[in-house]
């Protein structure tokens, strides 16, 4: 059962969430990334996500496996969109079920942080002034 997937079209949250319900789970944390209308001071009109699909899926699975090993959680799942997105569209969804909320929150945060840092997906933004750019963030300074 894959825990990380890429989606080429908009997807429903409800069945993803339902698949994480467990009788022993009292806590559920989720995170969503939405397309913002601005980024670093520029008006954004839309964007596109591109992935190196084979490696993104393998690396995404590794992130989810690490979360399941590292935190006291029941289950977890992450779906990331690729293709064209509009303002307000959901770009990524992370859901985590756990016995208690500490682990649910910590694992949810871990997954989104690691996915953003490691999974080969790239964002291409189109700006109000007609320009467009690939985002290749600088590494955080020590």
């Amino acid at each position: 059962m894959k825990k990380f997937t890429l989606a080429e079209t908009p997807f429903d949250i409800a069945p993803l969430r339902a698949a994480l319900v467990r009788g022993e789970a009292g806590a559920f944390a989720s995170f969503e990334g939405w397309v913002r209308n601005h980024n670093e001071g520029r008006d954004v009109h839309g964007l596109r996500y591109e992935a190196y699909a084979a490696l993104a899926e393998a690396e995404g699975e590794r992130v989810l496996s690490e979360a399941l090993a590292k935190f006291e959680i029941a289950d977890a799942c992450c779906v990331h969109r690729v293709g064209d997105l509009a303002i307000g569209d959901m770009a990524v969804w992370v859901g985590v079920s756990a016995g208690h909320r500490d682990a649910a929150f910590a694992a949810c945060r871990f997954i989104i942080d690691e996915v953003k840092a490691r999974v080969p997906i790239w964002k291409h933004e189109r700006y109000a002034d007609g320009a467009a750019d690939w985002l290749h963030p600088e590494p955080p300074t020590a």
Binding site: A51, L55, P120, I121, H124, W134, H136
Partner: protein, 80 residues
């Protein structure tokens, strides 16, 4: 000469003007391969800001080229 297929993504694809190419290279390792292609295509990103993958798995820059393998240069990611 080792024959490899190189995949380009994001700004590297825009700069190369292609999604992939199959080339023969004398480079002794993956780092050398990138440097050759960087000069040819005018890639702005230095090797230190990239990762490299071979046949769908992350690899080390010091690895030699393998005949018939698929090499991908991974620019800084921006998903999420």
């Amino acid at each position: 000469m080792t024959q490899v297929t190189v995949l380009y993504f994001a700004s590297l694809r825009d700069a190369a003007g292609m999604t992939s190419e199959t080339i023969g290279s004398d480079a002794s390792d993956l780092r050398g391969l990138y440097e050759t292609l960087q000069a040819r295509h005018g890639f702005v990103l230095p090797v230190g800001r990239l990762r490299v993958a071979v046949d769908g798995a992350f690899a080390r820059w010091e690895e030699p080229l393998r005949e018939g393998s698929e090499v991908a240069f991974i620019p800084p990611v921006s998903g999420g």
